[in-house]
Symmetry: C2
Subunit: 417 residues, 2 copies
């Protein structure tokens, strides 16, 4: 259940997936009453000694205190010889809270260090919820001892619930990949529903693996997947002050350590990791505020990948395209307009627009094969594919978005986030 | 009345203004049934011999055939020794209509040339409405003769109505400025309501003056005002394929010709012209699809004017800011987030955010003077001012926008534009 008593997104998966336990990672969740009552709102995650860490954070110039703190800590390196911890609260973003913001971060991470024995410089934190209100960090600190005492490997599903704000369902994804001498497991959770146009990572995402891999290589595996996963989704074009992704590798898998990413087990690991990231990113879109349609926008034939990204995002962020989809109207004219405003190189007469397998427009005009009834029938599906070929080069990019509905207005005209 | 049977915007002025007749400009409007029934949808404007012309058009890479045609004609110069004409239809944008688009433009402008005696290369055209449908230009041509026979100086109010699409009220503005030896009059009309994020000019705008002024100077007077008028408004961040502004000067005023823009009558003319442009631009926002609030976003203290524009537009286009305004929620946290994502240089701890005269946030946090009750009372007004000072430099820019409401979703989930 989301905060505003929202009903579950029609695009939600049937159930939270069975995520494999990651040896060396434990979870505990509790109710601190940061803002919400009658639900869990704090999660503590402990990561075993000898793990390595990587992260990705929002580039927003008004980013929250915890983001600045996490970035400073990770800048000192991704090794965690004495282990690491992550503390997350929902209900309050501790963003734009001046000097008090860092004081709250220090107080909470200090309490976690004391309760878990993890050095404070390896305690990371995230806060999500309302911006500009002081974080009542005493409420969080009051339950840290209990959380530390109840950490368990199986707590990841509860953690996925505790970090929700306007989310209507918890989000998880996993993969198992064959390493040399044994399997490597990857499991991740995410939260996010509105203010989704990540500019580096998205919302709150935590991914864990038992792979043995040095921190710089782990960071590289993470960074190389951002543009095609979390940077390729948008709900409403608004970038959060608090987007954060933390990836931890415990090295507990029996598989041999990964020492390169471009072949063998390393390449397989990267592919599996990016698959988990993509699935989590898509789940965020499936829980987009008010969403009734999940839309894949595939752009090909662009002069460059960067141009393809511009065009795909111009389409995915266009209020007119998104409202047409909400109205189940195959209004490809609005896609033409979005291509035109994107700033990417485009030639009106080379554009080719498909909805699913149907060609709607080509050669600068409506396709002779265009069939309004077939197009309208296609638009009634919950999952749609819009494909645009620019006919200019090899640049390509796929992004994911949702429609813009009355539900979005309902949620955001009333909810103080 | 708008096309979709929409009720008039609550932000509309009480009445269409009394516009001064511009000596040398005549109007005629008629019903061709391009798409709409029972209303006028074509306007013909004739401009006297010896006039000068200037224009501004969308930079969209998928711009409509008439835009390309107008640009080519104006590129040859702005003089009109034998006069000029403008023909405008609503109901069909003749955009993304392939080679047939130019054929329609040639057919319509050719018919106007024949009926008015104006050379075809001085006949400009605009089409607005649905994208991707062939323009039924025969219907327009069928009434061109009647229109040419009924041209009259007083027809500007009817013209403002005939060019409407989802507009809920006709838009006009005027100014009278003292020249040397007599008054100079300026009168303009505009249409626009959705797909408003002009990238050069906006929608359809026609401005007329009896000033005597050479074409290059007229173009300079027009171009120098775009960034602070039509390029400073946004309804929904979507840029049209068809934005066009045409400015004609008949030279019929008794005032002496304007020979410089930087002093005396020339400077007064530029100020008055930009005032008319600003008023027309603001009227477009006041008729923004579904709008219930008119919002001025003032950004100061930026590192540059360009940065101020980025920040102002990030705020004005943020769906979360716009839905908060619709909900009458003084949610300044969303403004902080919009500043952060804008890409402009910003320092969280120097930001100062005001709503009207109230300081809401400063020094990186909520202001000690913040009064939730007062802020909420302010948000109930129909006209709002959001002021953001970045505390970094001298860059400033003001833009205008509206809120994002259920009305916008209603109009655009149903209307094929």
């Amino acid at each position: 259940m989301g905060k505003a008593g929202l009903s579950v997104s029609p695009l939600a998966p049937a159930a939270f997936p069975d995520l494999p336990a990651i040896d060396g990672v434990e979870f505990a969740s509790g109710a601190a009453g940061v803002k919400y009552q009658g639900r869990t709102d704090v999660t503590l995650i402990r990561i075993a000694p000898g793990s390595t860490l990587a992260g990705a954070f929002t580039k927003s110039s008004t980013r929250a205190a915890c983001i600045l703190d996490n970035q400073a800590k990770l800048a000192a390196g991704g090794d965690a010889p004495q282990g690491a911890a992550i503390i997350v609260n929902s209900g309050n973003a501790n963003a734009f809270t001046g000097a008090r913001g860092q004081e709250s971060v220090d107080a909470v991470t200090g309490a976690v260090a004391q309760a878990t024995g993890v050095p404070a410089e390896r305690v990371f934190s995230s806060s999500t919820g309302v911006i500009g209100e002081p974080l009542p960090h005493d409420r969080i600190i009051a339950i840290v001892g209990d959380l530390a005492a109840s950490l368990e490997a199986g707590g990841i599903a509860d953690a996925a619930r505790a970090i929700m704000t306007t989310d209507t369902f918890p989000k998880g994804a996993s993969a198992v990949v064959a390493g040399e001498g044994g399997d490597i497991r990857i499991a991740g959770i995410a939260k996010g529903s509105g203010m989704i146009a990540p500019d580096m990572a998205t919302m709150l995402v935590y991914v864990f693996t038992d792979a043995a891999i040095a921190a710089p290589l782990l960071q590289q595996a993470l960074s190389s997947g951002l543009d095609t996963t979390f940077n390729a989704i948008t709900v409403d074009s608004d970038t959060s002050t608090s987007d954060a992704l933390i990836l931890a590798a415990t090295g507990r898998s029996p598989a041999a350590p990964i020492t390169a990413l471009d072949s063998g087990a390393g390449a397989a690991f990267v592919t599996a990791l990016h698959g988990v990231m993509r699935e989590l990113a898509q789940l965020v879109v499936r829980d987009g505020e008010g969403a009734t349609k999940f839309v894949e926008v595939r752009v090909t034939g662009a002069a460059s990948d960067a141009d393809a990204h511009k065009v795909a995002m111009a389409i995915a962020n266009s209020p007119l395209v998104k409202t047409a989809i909400a109205g189940e109207d195959a209004n490809w004219g609005r896609i033409v307009a979005a291509v035109g405003k994107s700033g990417a190189q485009a030639d009106r007469d080379r554009l080719r627009i498909r909805f699913g397998d149907m060609v709607l427009a080509e050669n600068g005009w409506r396709s002779p094969d265009y069939d309004e009834a077939k197009a309208s029938a296609y638009m009634k599906r919950p999952d749609l594919v819009i494909a645009v070929d620019l006919g200019l080069g090899q640049g390509a990019r796929t992004v994911w978005t949702c429609d813009l509905t009355h539900g979005y207005i309902d949620i955001n005209a009333d909810y103080r986030s």
